[in-house]
Structures are given as structure tokens and as C-alpha cells.
Amino acid sequence: MINGTKDTHSFWQRWWPYLVVILGALLVLGVAHDDQLYQTPILKIQSVKQISSDKQTDQFNNEDRQVEQALHGVITNGPNKGKHLQIDNTFLKSGATTLGYHTGQKVFLTVHHHQGRLSATISNLKRDTALAFTVWLTISLLLIMMRFSGFMALASVVVNGVLFWLAVSWNTNTQGGIVLVIFGGLAIVFAALTLLIVIGFNRQMLMTLLATIGGTALSIVVALIVFALTHERGVYYESMQYVTQLPRPLFLAETILGSLGAVMDESTDIIASLMALKTEKPDISAKQIFKSGRQIGGEIMGPLVNVLFFIFVAETLPLALLFLKNANSWGYTFNMTMSLGVVQSLISGIGIVLTIPLACGITSLMIGGHKSWGRLQH
């Protein structure tokens, strides 16, 4: 793949990733100066003066410093453009909920007109440039290192992102009443589209799709059975964050989506290797295919489960630390912050493991059994 362009020597084929990188860099530069696009007034901080710094303690003997600073800056957009302002800001050094600012940063303002005088408070930091820069860096690395396959990987992520957002809007329009139907159904569309992009339309893709959907569905069914048998003891839906609708179906939808990618990853790996094996040894039996598939699957399942585990559970660290520092016990902290992530990891793990026999079974039925049956006829 990396040398695929050498033969043609076409200028465009060789240099397109670099052109995209340069165009992207210009876009990032544009985002750094996009203040005019915002309706909210933006202040560029030009100088910062520290007014005071006091020691603070709470009832749990935590110590922190509360700092008061005076920010001077100039408004960079809107009707008040060019006006200078001073804003006072108080923050805690630990910075869990409040933020200290420094020279050069841009912040969004809520402006108040008070008897003809302009005053303002800071509503948020402008983060779009940092975001755009990191997106640019990722895409640049991807295209330069992986070229065409990188581009396809990017394409599938972008397509899935757009679909994801459409599904979220649809869910909002139906007040969250059919969240499981929407995201369950969309999981199928996601899987089909991604596999079309990664594999292309052929028998291998259909087999992979079947294994992916089957594995994900199976994990949810198993989870629901375990939930019913254990009466969901130790599953604290009230600890779910950002919940605006019924938490249980939402949690299941999150779990389906969360494990979908890993299950797809795994079935793609297993089935692609088995297809390659079949090409290499055309007279391999269905039983042997199943056996080698199980071995391949056994090797990748552990690392895959850990991928999801770290994604689901590492995110809970800031909140868990807050709970611990508020003198909660380890057990209570675990229940209220980490338990749902752990449940999600375990359900996904079961899905990942159950996909292995499923993928092997489908493959050996489709290519192993069929072929050997065909040979019998000769």
C-alpha cells in the first residue's frame, strides 16, 4: 500500500496527502481567526493581573488555593468590536469547575449594558482552534502514513458520524420514546455501511455483517437475562450522566453502540483470516476452519475487551476522584461512578467472546461445508 504509487509516478497520486495537509493547515489557521462567525461576543485577553490568592479548606480537610484575577482584553467581533474591557475572575487552583485564564486566550462573553456602561462575564473558553488543530494532526498523520486505506478509514468514520447525528436528532424528535429501536436499527445500518467501505460488497462482507449483528444482539439478550436473574442488583442507573430520558433503554443503546465497533473489528479479522486460509488450502474441512477461527479469535478477544474497558472506565476517573475527595467510601464511589462502565465493559466482553463461535460457524457453513459438499458430487 505504501509503495502503491511508485509505479505510476503520477504527481497527483504521490502528493495528494500533502496537499490535503497544507489545505487543512490553512483551515486551522482560519478557525483561529473565525471570531466574526460567532454571534456571541469574544474577548481576547491581553493582560492578566493577580489580585489575591487565599488558602481554602472544606469540611473534609481538602486544601486548595482560591485566586482572583483581573483580565484586560479587547472584544474582537460584533457591534462592540474594538472595545476594551476588564473582567474579574475567581477560580480554584485545582480547576475542576472554574478556570484560570492567561494572556492570549479568547473567551466568550455574556455582555450586560448597565446605564450605558459595558460590563461582561465570561461564559466559556474558545476551544475550537485546539479542536481543529488536533483533528488536522490526526487526519494528516493518517493520510501520510496510511494513504488510501487511511482515507477509507476516515471516510467510514465521517459517514458514521453523520448518521450518528441524524439518529440523535431523530431520537429527540420522538422524545426518546423509541431510543432502542432507533439505535438498534442504526447499529445494523452502521455495520452494513462500515463493512461496505472497509471490505466492499461481496460474500465475505455479508458473512461479517451477519456475525456482527448476531454477536451484538446475542450480548444484549444475555445481558437482559442476567439482569432479570439478578434483579439488576448493583446497576445504578441513577448514576448515569447527562440523562434527559428514561435511563435503562438509553443505557442499553449506549452498550449496543459501544460494543458494535469491537464486535465488527473482531468478525472482520476472523472471517478475513479464514477466507485467506481457504484460498491457501482449498480442501480445508469445515471443522478445521472452525478450529482455526477459534484460535484466531482466542488471540484477539483479550486485547479487544481491554480496548473497550479502558474507554468505558477511564472516563469515570475525574468524577470518581471528586467522590473520593468528598469523603465517600471506595465502595460507594465505585457504585456511583464506575459501576455502569464496568457493566458495559462486561456485556461488550461477552458479546466479543460469543462472536467468535458465531463468526467461525457462519464461515465454516458458508465456505467449508459448501465446498466439501460440492466435492462429494464430483
Binding site: S259, G302, V307, V353
Partner: protein, 255 residues
């Protein structure tokens, strides 16, 4: 029996049924990783420097995941070295970006969770955010490193006389095969977990500008991107490490 215990035991049974000893190892590495994560958190609560704790935990976790995951000892060694190199490269990237984006701590969307809580913590939440980002990529780094190293080990086994140049090309080829599906694992893993937040954005009608500057969303997207970059970096680093180890092995063989 609690649901978590039941699911954990069921996972153990499934893993052993499918993978035998390897399944047991996979289950142990998962439990160990949970222990390591929890222990790291407790150390941070005792005011040990979060980033340092994370780096030590990270190296240990990578070792456990890789050595309990693979079975070919020479390729797992290479995978481990490469993954540690990726981890340190990633830290060099994550620290400045997190200082720039300032996504640490909690956003306005979290205010319900924070009710009645003291936020006088004495722990730098910027460092906690850096730690969180590093920790969330560990699984992805380990998985990619194992995949590349195992793929190359198999090629070496089948074609022991392959030139080093071709071995390197093969590494990139294996990489190009895994990158598409790995990206989707990461994308769905992260975005599935934050479905509720996106529903919140849609429900409260955030504008595009508000979403692109939102503390929690930017933090989340940065984590996805760090993970993706770590996978991209793992491909060449593992390949080069494999080529270097093969070059040394051949030199020894010639002597």
C-alpha cells in the same frame, strides 16, 4: 449475586470455553487492569502526581495486557517495547494539547452531579484530564501493537528469508488492514458511551458554535483523536521494532 459478579463470572466461563488457557489469561488481564486503574485512582486521591502515577500504571498495564494476550514470546516482547514508545510519544502530544484546550474537570452539563459536592480538591484537574486521556488509549495501543507484531511474526514464520525491506512493507500492509476496523472500534466505543450527552445537545438545541467549544465534547473528541493517533503511530513503530529485532537475530545467526 450482584449483576456485576454474575456478568464477570459469565464472561470468565465464555472466555475459557472459547479460548481455554488463553481465555483465562484474557480474563485475568481484564481483572488486573481494573485493579490497576482503581489503584491508580486511589494513589491520585492521596495526592501523588497524577501524570507520574498514570505513566507507571500505563507501562504495567501494557505489559500485563500484551504478555497475557499474545503467546509468541519474541513478538510479544517487540509489541511491548513498541507500545511503551507509543505511550511516551503520546504523552508528549497530550500534555501541550490539554494545556491548550483546558477541558479539565466538569462542565455546566455536569452541574446536577456536582450538587452538594465540595470542589475544593487540591488536585490539579488539568493533570487528571491528562491522565484520563492517557489511560483511555492504553487498550487501543496494546491491541494494535499485538495485531501488528503477531501478523509479522506469522509472515516471518512462513517466509523466514523475507528481506527486511519486504518485512517492513508487510507491516504497513497489516496496518492498512486493521486501521479501518480499529478506527470504528474507537469511534463507537467513545461515541456509544457518550450517547446521552449528544442527546442532551440535540434536546437543548445547542448551536454548532456552542458544541464545538463545549468543554465536555471537546474533551471527548480529543480522547478519540488521541486514541486514533496512538493506533496510527503504533503501526510504523511496531513494524520498525520488529524489523530491528529481526535484523539483530539475523546478525547473530551469521556470526
Amino acid at each position: 449475586m450482584g449483576t456485576i459478579t454474575a456478568l464477570g463470572l459469565l464472561l470468565l466461563i465464555c472466555m475459557v470455553a472459547v479460548g481455554g488457557t488463553q481465555g483465562l489469561q484474557a480474563w485475568i488481564s481484564l481483572i488486573f487492569n481494573f485493579g490497576a486503574l482503581f489503584f491508580a485512582m486511589v494513589l491520585m486521591a492521596f495526592h501523588l502526581p497524577p501524570v507520574l502515577v498514570t505513566l507507571v500504571t500505563g507501562v504495567i498495564v501494557l505489559a500485563m495486557t500484551i504478555f497475557l494476550g499474545g503467546n509468541d514470546s519474541s513478538s510479544t516482547m517487540v509489541a511491548f517495547y513498541a507500545s511503551v514508545a507509543v505511550l511516551f510519544l503520546l504523552v508528549i502530544l497530550i500534555i501541550p494539547v490539554e494545556h491548550w484546550a483546558q477541558i479539565q474537570g466538569f462542565g455546566q452539563e455536569d452541574s446536577e452531579d456536582l450538587e452538594g459536592m465540595s470542589t475544593i480538591l487540591g488536585i490539579s484537574y488539568l493533570n487528571v484530564a491528562i491522565s484520563t486521556a492517557i489511560l483511555s488509549t492504553l487498550g487501543a495501543i496494546a491491541e494494535a501493537a499485538i495485531a501488528i507484531a503477531a501478523g509479522l511474526a506469522e509472515i516471518l514464520e512462513q517466509h523466514p528469508k523475507i528481506t527486511l525491506k519486504n518485512l517492513q512493507n508487510a507491516g504497513f500492509k497489516v496496518g492498512s488492514q486493521i486501521i479501518g476496523t480499529t478506527f470504528n472500534t474507537l469511534f463507537f466505543g467513545f461515541f456509544g458511551g457518550f450517547l446521552a450527552l449528544f442527546i442532551w445537545f440535540a434536546g437543548v438545541h445547542y448551536s454548532l458554535g456552542e458544541i464545538l467549544n463545549d468543554k465536555i465534547l471537546v474533551g471527548e473528541v480529543l480522547m478519540v483523536l488521541f486514541s486514533m493517533m496512538s493506533v496510527i503511530a503504533t503501526i510504523p513503530l511496531t513494524t520498525w521494532a520488529m524489523v530491528a529485532s529481526e535484523r539483530q537475530a539475523r546478525k547473530k545467526f551469521l556470526k
